[in-house]
Amino acid sequence: MTLQAPGFWPPTGPEIVFLLLGVVALGSALLVVTTRQLVHAALWLVVCFGALAGGYLVLTAEFVAWVQVLIYVGAVVVLLLFGIMLTRAPIGRSADLDSGNRWAAALVALATAAVLVTVVVSGFRTAYAPLDPGQGAAKPLGSSIFRTWVLPFEALSVLLLAALVGAIVLSRTDIQGRK
């Protein structure tokens, strides 16, 4: 971060793309919370995740980008949609997606966003991270996960196992008594 940052003007190609992706991500995120149709909200979430993945790509983190598409777009939101369609499946606008607290919520969200934007802008105004292609490929990532971060990685697998067991506890219905 001590490197001298090149100026912001004129913006380079990747910078423009990144900004556009940011706008898409932000806009779709807003639409997620403002749309009145449950399924559309999930679909805007897909757009948001996709834009994020694009942002990762621009930052040369290709592995993370494609995994983001694969896991979040391809699995998480599909399951979300699955859940929506199997349970309530409201067609068209749902009236109860709104709440009387929306102005308070909007205010809190705006204030939080303002604080975070200020913090990030003031903190990283002068920061400059050069992008070396290849840093985000599978190999550097793998070697850092399985070397430096091996313990938290394993702990995460334990976490997932615990979550799995927990989900089974909550959902299974065929428990027989001890006879």
Binding site: V39, L43, V73, G74, F82, A89
Partner: protein, 450 residues
């Protein structure tokens, strides 16, 4: 051996116009492939069923697909009144675009000269190219889900739900079947995986050097078999075509799409997806564009434009496999499909990956072989112990069940009226629970009220 093909560093140097040429070539190839793919499928399946198949439009019915396409383009595009218009329009696009995208990382051949530029016969490659294919496949699901949802029709939504569950489940098994390939190749880039399948090692036994086959289909046969199953599931083809199962769901997710251009998009996407998964199978397991064994003895087989021919030949064979399966197998039941995916394919795959990783670790020079072997032995013995225990338990259950059935039969045999054959009782709900004599006088029913 000779000409291991391009590596990652060979990509990214093309001038823009070469990239455009390649992209257009891939697009045209896929479109033509779909046109003739449909024809091939219909012809082939007809021959398997002792029929002729399409034979009116053009020589051998070759123009049948063209005619169908024209018909679809000219038909009135019906739009049901209640559909969610945006989603209804979006779905065919969403399903078709990712199908094409995946082909950008499929290697068609080695480095060739193209208009004065030396360039690989592949649009582009990434260090994580295989992930890109998986990711695009997972985006394609949305097309089906959205088509089902946007149509606002029970059949369509059932098809959409089925497909989302099916594709997500089979994608896991599919991704896992790639893992062994990654382990062996040490890379996720398609061109390098093909390059790794260039030369096999030799197998030293009793002083003889037996060359081992280099394609991963031989060394990683379990992965390949599992992949072959999942590629049927991933593309919603028979026997896993539950999302559109016309027997129970009319047309499934595309019920509400009249056979217009939107429907054509679905067909297009289905066939392109078939090509994509076949091309992946070829790239990952069947040596990519490399010539098969007898041809590979010829030195020039893997140079220049020849490999494209081998690639197309393999693709045609893989497509024929799809057709063959369709002609032979009935559709599976939905719960069987899910149980097969989750309870058979995924555990098998995990076990096989463990085994493959162990073998791989044994081959490392600095590995602690005794430790690995001892640990492996413990795991195997524990697994065997558990299996034996459950086998005996299951055996006991089976015997108990058989005895029960036998007893039931004994009872039946003693009843002369039944004679051992099940006779439907007269008060079945089918007869509305009314014995004929006690039935009320018939009412007039107007036709059509049913």
């Amino acid at each position: 051996m000779n000409n291991p093909g391009p590596t990652l560093s060979d990509f990214g140097h093309d001038p823009l116009w070469i990239s455009i040429i390649k992209a257009v070539a891939i697009f045209v190839f896929l479109m033509l492939g779909v046109l003739f793919g449909v024809w091939t499928e219909r012809k082939l399946i007809s021959r398997m069923q002792h029929r002729y198949g399409p034979n009116r439009a053009g020589k051998f019915g070759l123009l049948q697909s063209v005619a169908d396409g024209l018909k679809m383009g000219l038909k009135e595009d019906l739009m049901p009144r209640t559909v969610d218009k945006v989603i209804y329009f979006l779905a065919p696009v969403v399903i078709a675009v990712p199908a094409f995208l995946a082909f950008s990382v499929i290697p068609f051949g080695p480095m060739v000269w193209m208009f004065g530029h030396k360039t690989p016969l592949q649009l582009t490659d990434l260090p994580v190219a295989v992930l890109l294919v998986l990711a695009t496949a997972s985006i394609g699901v949305y097309g089906i889900v959205l088509a089902g949802w946007g149509s606002r029709s029970p059949y369509a939504i059932l098809g959409g739900l089925r497909s989302s569950a099916q594709v997500v489940s089979y994608e896991i098994a599919m991704g896992l079947s790639f893992v062994a390939v990654f382990l062996k190749a040490g890379t996720l880039s398609t061109s390098e995986i093909v390059a790794k399948q260039a030369g096999g090692g030799t197998w030293d036994i009793f002083g003889m050097h037996i060359p081992t086959p280099s394609w991963y289909v031989f060394s990683l046969i379990p992965s390949f078999l599992i992949y072959a199953v999942t590629m049927l599931g991933e593309t919603n083809r028979v026997p896993f075509d539950l999302p559109e199962g016309e027997g129970e769901l009319v047309g499934g997710f595309h019920t509400e799409y009249s056979s217009s251009l939107k429907f054509a998009m679905f067909m297009l996407a289905e066939y392109v997806n078939v090509f994509t998964v076949s091309a992946m199978a070829i790239t990952l397991f069947l040596g990519g564009w490399r010539a098969p064994w007898p041809i590979s003895l010829w030195d020039g087989a893997n140079t220049g434009w020849w490999p494209m021919l081998w690639f197309f030949a393999k693709l045609a064979l893989a497509f024929a496999f799809f057709v063959w399966v369709r002609a032979s197998l009935p559709r599976v039941r939905y719960d069987q499909l899910m149980a097969f995916g989750w309870k058979v394919l995924i555990p098998l795959n995990l076990g096989w990956i463990l085994l493959a990783a162990t073998l791989q670790a044994l081959r490392l020079p600095e590995s602690n072989r005794n430790g690995i072997l001892a640990f492996g032995a413990v795991v195997v013995i524990a697994g065997l112990g558990i299996w034996l225990r459950f086998d005996t338990v299951n055996q006991r259950r089976r015997e108990a069940r058989a005895a029960e059935v036998e007893e039931e039969f004994e009872q039946l045999r003693e009843e002369p009226a039944a004679g051992g054959f099940p006779v439907p009782p007269l008060d079945l709900p089918h007869y509305h629970g009314v014995v004929p004599s006690a039935r009320a006088p018939k009412e007039e029913v107007t036709s059509g009220s049913n």
